[in-house]
Structures are given as C-alpha cells and as structure tokens.
Symmetry: C2
Subunit: 565 residues, 2 copies
C-alpha cells in the first residue's frame, strides 16, 4: 500500500476524551474514529489489525473442531423473556420495534438464539457433541462507554457454544476451548492470565474462567503467583494459612488491658506507632436478619464472596450503624471481640496472630494484648479476606501473590442446563430417554483485544504492534521524493517485497523526513526500512521497533532478514 493513497490522518494532539493509552494512540495513529459515544469506525489500518485477530481466532476455533455459523443481530424479544434474561440485562439491552410493532433486541450475546437453533436441528445423542461459533458485531447499551474500544456499545465478538450429552462431555469441550484461547492470546502477543471467575449475568451451574490481559487500566484486580501459573480474581483468590505465624506461646502474654483512644483508628495507628497488621478489626454483618461478627486484620479487607460461600448465602451485608449500636452498645469503631455476644467468624490471619489490638466495646477505648483463642473463640475460622500483595501462593506454596489490574479479553463458562432447560433443547440418549443438552459458552472480545494489545505494546513514539497483528510487516520510509535514487530504490524495494508476499506500506508522501518518522513511530509497524542518503550505495537503514535497533544494510540483506524472520 502506498501511504499517499491511504486514508489515515495521524493526529498530533491527544483527544481530551481519550483517557487511556490505547484509546489515545489508536485515535492519534489513525486506526479508529468515534461516530458516537462507544461507537467507532475502523479506518483501513484498524480494519487490518481487526482482520488479523479475526483470522487467528477463526483458525484456532476451526482447529479445535468448532463450526462457524452466523446468527442474526436482531433477536425476537420473546426469546429473552423465555430465558428469563430480559429483565436481568435490563437497560443494557438495545431494543427496537419493527414497522409492525414487533419487539426485538440487538444481541449482546446469543445463548437464546443458538439454543433455539440447536433445539431444532438436534434430537439424538448421535449428533452430539457439537461446538458452534461466530464472529459478529454485538450491541450493549453501556451506561458509561469509555476507554475507546475497551468498553464500547457496538463491538466485535467471537462467541462460541458447546453442546454435550453430559458433564464429562462438557469438561472435554471446555478444555478444548480453554486451550484454543491460550493459543489465541499467545499468538496475539498478550501478557495475560486465565483466572477462576464468577459466572455473572450469563449464569450457569458449572465453573468459569476469565482471561485477563495484565494492564494498569484494567477494571478487575487479579492475584498472580510469582512462581507458578496460579491466577485468580481477587474475589476468588484463596489465601493460604501460614503455619509459621500460628500462635504457640499464649501463656506468656499478659491479660489484655484497656487504653484511651478518643481518635480515629488511623490516628491511633500513627500516634501509638501500632502497625495495621497488629490490629484486629471487628465487623458486624447481617444475613437475612441474623447478626454475626467477622474479624480480620487491620491491613486486610473482608471478602464477602468467600464469606458468603462459607456461610452458604449470597445475601449478606454489613449491618447498619444503628443496628451495631443497638446490639453492641457502642459505635462501630469501638466494637471488639472479647465480650461480644455474637457468633465470631475469624479470618485465618487473625487466628494466626499471637496478640493484637482490638476495640474495647466501650466508647473511646481499645484493648491491647488481645490473644485469639484465649480472649475470644476460634470456633469458626476461615479464609474471609481478600488476598494482598505478598501472600503466599495457595497453589504452589513457593511463590508469593502479586496483585495486578486486568482487562477481561475472554471468558469461558460451563452453563450446564441453564438455557437448554428453559428453552427446551433436549436429546434422546441411547436408551431412548429425553435429557437436556449440557452447554458451555465461550467469548472473546475481538475489538477489545485490539485495544488490550495496544495498551500493552507501545513506547514513547507510539504503538508497537507484535508481528502477528501489525497492519503491515514492513514500513518503507522514503526520505526525499525529490531524490531520484531514493525514489528508484524505495520503489524497487516496495515492488520486490510485495511480490514476495510481504505486506508493505510505502511512505511515498511529499513530506519532510521528520513528519515521516513521527507518523511511522505512531503507526507502529515492527520493521522500518529507511531509504535515505545511502540509497546511492543500495543501502537502507533497517530499524526494528521491537528490539529498538538500527543498522545500515545492503538491500539484499535487508530483504533476506525480513523474509526469514
């Protein structure tokens, strides 16, 4: 492609709306343009990157035995009511009526449509398993679209759905998709982790994993082991009990004693030189009217998902100020475990303390020398807190956990019978019994992935695409269109590389060298060939953005390096 002809205007200024690097650079380098909030046009460079991602995804899906289909965006609203998701999605569903006042939604996902499709096509176990996928535009009416392609209202997705006769079959289908996802993200050059996750609005009875691209702008926090491949959403990350911390010398610690603390806990920490990890926090929770206390260390936070799982409830919440006052007789800040008449749920890290500082159950007073097990009950111990930086890995035990922010780029779910039951997708087994099909679903945000890769791959000049996704493999920069030798060499190189099948962009614009370097830096093609003053000697400068190196090479050597790399 000749850059003279390319519909790409690079921008020197950063748009005020663009808060994230990927959004700024994709706009500035001429990959995308906004049409409306969360709705983008892909310019030629952006479309090329998108197509490369599509092709990687398509190849890996096909290799995993999935079959490509294409389902409509317009879905009859009745289907969403049948599956009982119409209200769950609520305002995020884009809705419309046709001229006959029939109601449709624009699909944000296709469980309803695909389940109805398979219900009509498959009736016997002989036709199972099957996995279907599509690459398609999706719609979601985000309340606050942001970060460019990361959270848009119209976006490109790959969604896949597996159909099996039983849970073992689903496990196989799930593993196949999981492995395909690993290959896809690796081929896209992403630094990512697969984490155990919650199923959210998609629902389902089985497990679920999220694939997270590590990035400071991510909306999720994940805990990642420094040693093994363990990774989990913060809500799901287990905390390992440190046997070493366990309390073994109870008797030597004197009886707890009250001291005056009219200030807040923060001032207390500062004023008395008490470290947060020496404080025992007492929080009062309510679960359908039943009150109980949870104890965590001062530097830890209660993980309500873990607590709920331990208690077998999803309905717990912190008790309000008045309730705490009524039950304990003091303000929240001075509640302590020693004389509390409520069940105590003690986090393992508290249980492992030899002694600590807690509220005294009396206004303006705390206690010191509070010993877990001696001064309050350790009947109910569990993992009730969020993991923190430096916790040891619950999987290998050797590494420590580091917390990262992550961008969700893929999600795999074991749906089970969630949709096949509701929509009546069943099959006859070998014995002639009617059973519900066991489903899984698997999504990748294609356009979001483009943003995540951009967010992970840039330098001070602009984007730096991995070779697998770069819009072109080589960028020839013709320094002066007025120098005949340079023109001849650049044209010859362009022709030769193109004939060799190398996707090449030739900057043949009548612009100053500085402009060309700036634009090339922004666009981020991994290899540049600079045709300048050495052209007369049939030499070019070979520049790699990935390794940040420059070399003057004979053109034959430059071509050799490109075609063999």
């Amino acid at each position: 492609m000749r850059q003279r002809d390319l519909l790409t205007t690079t921008l020197r200024e950063t748009s005020a709306d663009a808060e994230t690097i990927n959004h700024q650079l994709l706009l500035r380098a001429g990959y995308i343009r906004q049409l409306a909030a969360g709705i983008y046009t892909y310019l030629p460079l952006g479309r090329r990157v998108l197509r490369k991602i599509e092709e990687i995804v398509r190849k890996e899906m096909d290799a995993a035995g999935a079959q490509e289909i294409l389902m409509p965006s317009m879905q009859p609203t009745e289907l969403w009511k049948e599956s009982e998701r119409y209200d769950v999605y609520g305002q995020e569903l884009m809705k419309l009526q046709d001229r006959h006042k029939r109601e449709f939604v624009l699909g944000p996902t296709h469980e309803e449509v695909v389940t109805t499709l398979v219900r009509g096509e498959i009736s016997s176990y002989k036709r199972l398993p099957v996995t279907l996928y599509q690459i398609q535009t999706k719609f979601r009416d985000e309340r606050r679209p942001r970060s460019g392609l990361l959270r848009g209202r119209e976006f490109l997705m790959k969604d896949a759905y597996s159909f099996d006769t039983d849970w073992e079959g689903l496990d196989d289908s799930y593993v196949k998709m999981f492995s395909a996802y690993q290959r896809i993200f690796a081929r896209c050059g992403l630094d990512y982790r697969a984490v155990h996750a919650d199923s959210g609005a998609i629902g389902g009875e089985g497990g679920s994993h999220e694939f997270m691209a590590l990035s400071d702008i991510g909306e999720d926090t994940i805990a990642v082991c420094s040693h093994c491949d363990y990774a989990a959403n913060l809500e799901q990350a287990e905390v390992r009990t440190h046997a070493a911390d366990a309390n073994s010398d109870l008797l030597e610690i004197p009886t707890y004693e009250k001291f005056h603390t009219p200030d807040t806990i923060d001032e207390l920490v500062k004023g008395l030189n008490i470290l947060p990890e020496h404080i025992i926090k007492t929080l009062i929770y309510a679960d359908e009217g039943q009150l109980f206390a949870v104890l965590v260390r001062g530097d830890h936070e209660v993980n309500e998902i873990k607590l709920g799982q331990f208690l077998g409830t999803s309905d717990l919440a912190l008790a309000d100020y008045q309730t705490v006052q009524d039950v304990t007789g003091v303000e929240i800040g001075f509640v302590g475990p020693t004389e509390l008449l409520l069940p105590l749920y003690v986090d393992t890290a508290v249980a492992a303390m030899s002694q600590g500082v807690s509220g005294a159950g009396e206004k303006d007073y705390h206690l010191r020398n509070v010993v877990p097990g001696r001064d309050f009950s350790l009947e109910r111990i569990g993992d009730f807190r969020n993991a923190v930086e430096g916790d040891s890995c619950p999987s290998c035990g050797e590494g420590v956990l580091h917390l990262h922010k992550g961008i969700e780029i893929g999600h795999v779910f074991k749906l089970g019978r969630r949709y096949s039951d509701k929509l009546g997708a069943s099959f006859l087994d070998a014995a002639g019994n009617k059973k519900s099909i066991i489903m899984g679903c698997y999504g990748i945000g294609i356009s979001r992935l483009m943003a995540a890769v951009a967010e992970q791959n840039y330098d001070e000049e602009g984007l730096v695409w991995p070779a697998s996704l770069a819009p072109y493999a080589v960028h020839i920069l013709l320094m002066s269109v007025k120098d005949k030798e340079q023109v001849a060499l650049a044209e010859a190189l362009y022709k030769q590389l193109t004939q060799l099948g190398v996707q090449t962009l030739l900057d043949d614009r009548d612009e100053r060298a500085g402009v060309k370097f700036k634009d090339s830096g922004l666009i981020g093609i991994p290899v540049s060939l600079i045709v300048g003053k050495d052209a007369a000697m049939q030499k070019v400068q070979y520049m790699s953005r990935l390794t940040n190196t420059k070399e003057v090479l004979d053109i034959s050597e430059a071509i050799m390096r490109i075609t063999t790399s």
Copy 2:
C-alpha cells in the same frame, strides 16, 4: 469435515413459506434457518459459502485499489436528517433509542457515515482520490420480506464509496468498480447483465448501472440483446424504429370507416380476427393539468419514464375516467385520434403502421383503415413504449431483444455532490479553492448473491454449486460404515485430500446409501467420490454434478483429477 459432526439437518419436506427454488433448497439442504421474518441464521454450510463470496469480493476490491474499513451499524439519526434521507427511507429504516433517549438508525447503507468520516480526514486534493469499502450486516425494515435471502431485513452487503476531485476522476473510479463487479460476478459463476438504471432513493446526479442475475423469479424486467452485450431495464430499453415498416403507399388505402363494436377490445380482437398489432390505442395523459394523447400499438405498453423524459417532466399520469369523458365525450375504450382536439404523441411503431384500427370517438364504434399521417398528425413522434420480445437491438441493430426477469445483485451510482454538499465534505484544490468532493457508491448484496447463485444452479436433486463457491470441493460418500475396506479407503482418501489442501466433506454417518445420495444431491458439492463395492480394488466412483457424469477410477487417478482440475 466429518459429516457425522456437521450441524446440518437436511429436510425432506419443503417449507410452505418458501416459494422460490433458492429459498426451498437452501432450507432443505441445511444452509440457512429462519429466526424471524426476513432474518436468517447461516448454518456451517451456508457460512462457508458466504465466506467464499466475501473473499472473492474482498480480493477484487483490494485489487481495484479500494481500502477496507468497518463502519458502525448504529448511526445517529441526525446524520440522516442532515442528508434529508430520513423521511425518504421512512418506514424502511430500523430505528432505536439508547438508554439516554438518543435516536439511532440501523444502517441500510452508509453514505452519511462515510461522507462524515472523509470530511474529517481529507481536506486537500493531494489526498484524493480514495475508494473505501466494507463488508457488513445491513438492516432494512421491508414491508414484506420474501424469497428467503433475496429480500431480507438483516443481510450482508459490500458497500463501497469513491471520492474524487472532479467528474473525470469519478468516471475512472466508476469504471474500476464496474470492472471489479464484472470479475466478481463472473467468478461466482453467475449469468448476469449490467444494465443502465435509475438512481432511486440513493439519489445523485450521475449515471447508474444495475447488475442483474437472470432469473424467472427476478422482480425486474430487463431487455437483453441476442447478439451484442446490450442490456437495459425495461424502463430504460430504447426501441429502434424499423425503417422497413414505414408506410409508403398511403394513397391506395380507402378512407377510414366506422364499424359497430359494442364489445370489449378483447372480444373485438377475437370476433373480427384483428391482430393486436393492427390496433392503435389512444391514451389520455395529464401533466400538471395539461392533457394530451399518446398513441401506441395494441400489443405495446406506454413507457411513462420515456414519455416523461421526452416531455421533460416526471409528474405525468393517466387521466381519470371522468376527465376523459369530459374532454372526448366518450368512454375511454372508444377514444380515437382522428378527430381529437388534443396534442398527439405518437409512438414510432404506430407511425410506421400503414393503417390500423382505432376508437371512433363515439360509443360502441371503432374505425378501420385509419392511416397515420393522413388521418391524424405525426408532428410528435417518439419512443414512448416498452421494448417487447423480438424488438431489434438499439445498440448493434443485428440482434433482437429478449425480455428476462432479473435479480438485482449489484448497483453502481455516480452520486456527484449529492452527499458532499449536504454534509459539507470538501477539499482545497491546487489553487486553494474550496470544492465539494465528487462521490460514487457501489453495492453488492453478499447474502442475496448466495441466493441468486442458488437460484441459477440446481437440478432435480438439489443445489449444484459452482466450484468457486461450493462449501467443500469434494464429498466422499462412504457407502457402508460396517465394511472395513470401505471405511479404510474412505478415511485414507479423506486424510490425503485434506493434507493436499482440498476442502473435503466425508459422509461417515451410519446411514443407508440412499440417504447419503439424497443428502449429497441436496447439498450440491460439485465432485463426489463414492466409496462402495469397488473399495477392495482401491477404486472409487468419481461423480461430477456439473457435467453429470460418473466413472470408476483408481484412487490415484481420482485424486489427480481433483487436484489438477
């Protein structure tokens, strides 16, 4: 692909809704399924055909220098109001509101979006010309969706837009797209014609061509020359005057005479043995209140588009019954030209008659021996009729015109400044003057093309895909999955062909041979290899659907034939 795993259910019954062959066969062979009126899912076989069309279109667009982009489906309604098309499209626009009550349309076409895009990117003549295209789902709220993919509400289109500095540039861009379209339709194996066309709702100042796949179920009528490549929509097809028919012996015909005709014109024709081509029909038209008569032969029909072009008006209509009565004093059926006090517009075919039968201007009477030029004025002669079967070709003069029905599969328009003026897309020319960009637009219905190819390529067994679009190149039919030699040979063939890059479908289902032949006949893969009783001798039956031939071949020869064809 193993057919055992393929999500395809062939249907023995034809759906009652499916009135056209393509719709019936695409449903029965398992290519598509309806989700709602005019809204379809593409099953794996259908998706493969669609992808092949997409790839042909993409390659030819790229080769023609067009750049691929991707614009959103959701378009702000304001854009359509700015271009003054919101009301023109009316109920055919799918409309929606987002959660903030902002209004959008789902794009049936993208002139507004692309013009706005280019307005933002291009400001100088140096950056022109440029042609952009996309392959994308479109939405149109058809009042009556029908014929399966031919007239759907959600469908796949390739739309392209060219931007030039002047009309000569547009002519070049137009020719490039026109040629690309010819290559695309030829590669898809279509019998089609490019015809001069009217611009319709897209509007624009320049010319326009439609690409029509010839088919009895087409909604348009086109006139096609038997000798040269002339083709035109019926409304546009010129009629050549036949000098040979011209009247030269006026004087020998006796004065016209009245005869009693109390019956309708049809009964008159039958009873008196008068041929329709001997009748002169007199029709009264009104153009903004001005009345005039048009004379055409009894076997011809007035072409109001030609008439309007001759008169320089687009507002003419047949006068109503009462007006005719008031002006002529008789009922419509008995109006004649001989004593009429209105301007007479005489079609060339009437002018060329030596004599004819016309209304007498008196109830229940007609005239015979009416001689054009003697008995009524030939001051205003023109081509005012539709072409008919057998008219001589207006282009070469050697062939005759045949009328065909056509399915519109592509349309190219010279838009000129229609959109750039309204939406303010301008550029500075070399002298620094601001000018509107000159645009063209170019569409191909990708999913409609699939239906048109199906409509042209079938036999009594089912679909017969051209090799370029077939979902697979070869269909191996394993006659008995219980015969070890057959299984071994079929598997070996499948493996070898797949390794050679031949897209192969292996029917390895545990079904009777009859079922396999029936399904294979429906699915329509061009070449089948039947692995049956000759398997032990390493022989297969090679069956071509295109040539309708069968031969027993050694497997090496069968493979050779496949890979070299």
